[in-house]
């Protein structure tokens, strides 16, 4: 809605963004350019952060960032009327660019040919699961138990577990391959983890109560 009044209670800067983006004519055009600049800078920073060590660089990196910034700009413009000031406007807008970068990097993953799952991937299972290196026999035995548990998963759960855990493919990339969403795959992995844990508890490898660890994000 052009010229709509921003939500009451917005901080000055956020209210300014909303007002300018909902204006008409030159004011709006200028605001859209500023928004795109903001998201382009955010996208470049985020793509560089995510792609460090992946071999993506130069023109490819700039293209990924530009596509993410363009799509995030459209998304923000489509939803600016729904902005309620739960955070600063720029934080809200950056969220769109971070999510777009996730999707673009997930799609980009499949531009290179990927090896099929092999026995070697299964041999790396102890490392993937963080097994202590000083218990070779136990590690081997536990790996076999995990593999038995994985064999008991549904075909879909097993494919997603193998891709995400053994091959280290991100859920965003797997979502592209299986034409689904990150959330749906997370739910699949969640159920798979629960089943594998129950199997390992039943076989006496793990206790009934999960060990609690305080980690990042808290």
């Amino acid at each position: 809605m052009a010229g709509a009044t921003p939500e009451p209670g917005l901080d000055t800067e956020s209210a300014g963004w909303v007002r300018r983006l909902q204006a008409r004519g030159n004011d709006r055009e200028s605001a859209v350019r500023d928004l795109h600049d903001l998201l382009q800078r955010g996208a470049r920073r985020e793509v560089r952060r995510r792609c460090a060590g992946t071999g993506v660089s130069g023109r490819e990196l700039v293209d990924l960032a530009t596509q993410a910034a363009d799509d995030a700009t459209y998304a923000v413009l489509a939803k600016v009327a729904q902005f309620r000031g739960e955070s600063r406007f720029t934080t809200w807008a950056y969220r769109f660019v971070v999510l777009e970068v996730s999707r673009k990097v997930g799609r980009h993953f499949w531009r290179q040919p990927r090896a099929e799952l092999t026995e070697e991937d299964w041999n790396r299972l102890p490392d993937a699961l963080g097994a202590p290196p000083d218990h070779v026999a136990e590690v081997r035995e536990l790996s076999r138990a995990v593999r038995r548990a994985v064999d008991d998963l549904t075909d879909h759960q097993r494919r997603i577990f193998e891709g995400a855990v053994l091959q280290g493919i991100s859920l965003d990339a797997l979502a592209v391959r299986y034409d689904t969403t990150r959330n749906a795959l997370y739910k699949t992995l969640y159920d798979a983890r629960r089943k594998i844990r129950a199997s390992l508890v039943a076989e006496g490898y793990l206790g009934d109560e999960p060990s609690k660890e305080v980690r990042a994000h808290e």
Partner: protein, 88 residues
């Protein structure tokens, strides 16, 4: 029984976990709570639980946190346009 705490933590599933969609819906709110030093995990335990377990959402959290705490500097073009508009 050996110390399989890392495996145990990986296989742990928390019924409070809100999933990717809900965590991403309020990621901007959660990040600002973290930045302002508030106990975001106490306010949104289901989101905190999800960010611990979901690698991609955890990555999005780290990305947004980095952009908010250390925003990329403005380019010359935008600074010039602001100046022409009389902004600071």
């Amino acid at each position: 029984m050996s110390d399989w705490s890392e495996l145990d933590a990986f296989l742990e599933t928390d019924p409070a976990d809100v999933g990717c969609d809900e965590a991403m819906r309020i990621l901007h709110v959660y990040v600002e709570l973290v930045v302002s030093g508030e106990d975001a995990a106490a306010r949104y335990p289901g989101v905190a639980s999800h960010l611990r377990q979901c690698g991609p959402c955890g990555e999005d959290f780290e990305g947004l946190l980095a952009l908010v705490t250390d925003p990329p500097p403005e380019g010359v073009g935008r600074r010039l346009r602001k100046k022409l508009r009389g902004g600071r």
